[in-house]
Symmetry: C2
Subunit: 183 residues, 2 copies
């Protein structure tokens, strides 16, 4: 039998998926700034205190929501170039989905001057993809970090400046540019 049986006490209700969906929906409808924890909790049909029992801060909630929304990066492609191209198009499409880009940009900017949140964002969101890509592309850490800066930074800058995701034409240009840098 497993070492950990069910612990005593009332079990947690399985509301994580509902909270994540409510988070993206609220951010999409009201924008990051107006997507307060109060409103997200109300949209999910739970109390605000329940949110804070599971995630220590709004930034941590958004980060967890993004981790859940992104899921694993698809590592498909015949060679390194095709693999990286697919990864770039995948993240571009994800950031273009309703709420995700705004949530990403919002938590990112919150993290700029919040070292604790930066740590959460870096370890929980960026590091998994960085490690997988290092392995798949056979590139050193600093090169993969550079590519992530370029791709994600470009996509978020466009999203932040225009409020709209990048067009497929510009994503194509981004892919071409990065692939040439990959060599």
């Amino acid at each position: 039998m497993p070492a950990s049986t069910r612990p005593p006490g009332r079990p947690r209700t399985g509301v994580d998926a509902a909270v994540f969906a409510a988070t993206l929906r609220t951010v999409h409808e009201l924008g990051y700034a107006h997507a307060t924890v109060d409103r997200i909790a109300a949209a999910a049909g739970i109390a605000k205190t329940t949110v804070y029992r599971r995630w220590p801060s709004k930034g941590a909630l958004i980060t967890a929501c993004l981790v859940d929304a992104f899921g694993p990066v698809p590592l498909t492609g015949a060679d390194r170039s095709a693999l990286l191209a697919n990864a770039i198009r995948w993240i571009a499409a994800k950031i273009g989905e309703p709420g995700i880009g705004a949530a990403f940009a919002g938590v990112f900017t919150d993290a700029v001057n919040d070292p604790a949140l930066r740590q959460v964002l870096s370890t929980q969101l960026q590091d998994p993809y960085r490690l997988v890509l290092q392995d798949a592309l056979d590139e050193p850490e600093h090169r993969v970090l550079f590519f992530i800066d370029v791709v994600v930074g470009t996509l978020l800058h466009r999203m932040g400046m225009t409020g709209e995701p990048m067009t497929t034409t510009d994503v194509d240009a981004l892919v071409d540019m990065v692939l040439r840098a990959l060599g």
Copy 2:
């Protein structure tokens, strides 16, 4: 004689430069989130109300501060490639100066879900550089916007994720990559 003589009433004191300096200093020391208008005003030696008499919001103050801090882009270089390379190194150095990168990233994230601030940021900060670069590089608007997304987005993403400006080695890689895309 000029059409506008001095208007009646007490003239404004010339504190703009002091406020800008205090803004960058405060953001550098405390971070964007803790650089409140109260603290900035105190650091500049003026009342908070005076700040709001001149700039309608904190975002507008930060934007004006950045416009002042950046100044005109140096358009030097023998050809288009050298010119763009110099411009990229210039903006990278500026974003690396104390307070500027954090202020930029902060106001940028504030703007993501604040259309009014986005308008201010786009017209007062981005458009002047875009127009000058369109002319100097003889490139269409969408190409210049793409380059700005790539360069500024990459630099801010690095700044946001690590808290440190990009190293000269990585700036070199950024220059190489963009120059190859310029063709």
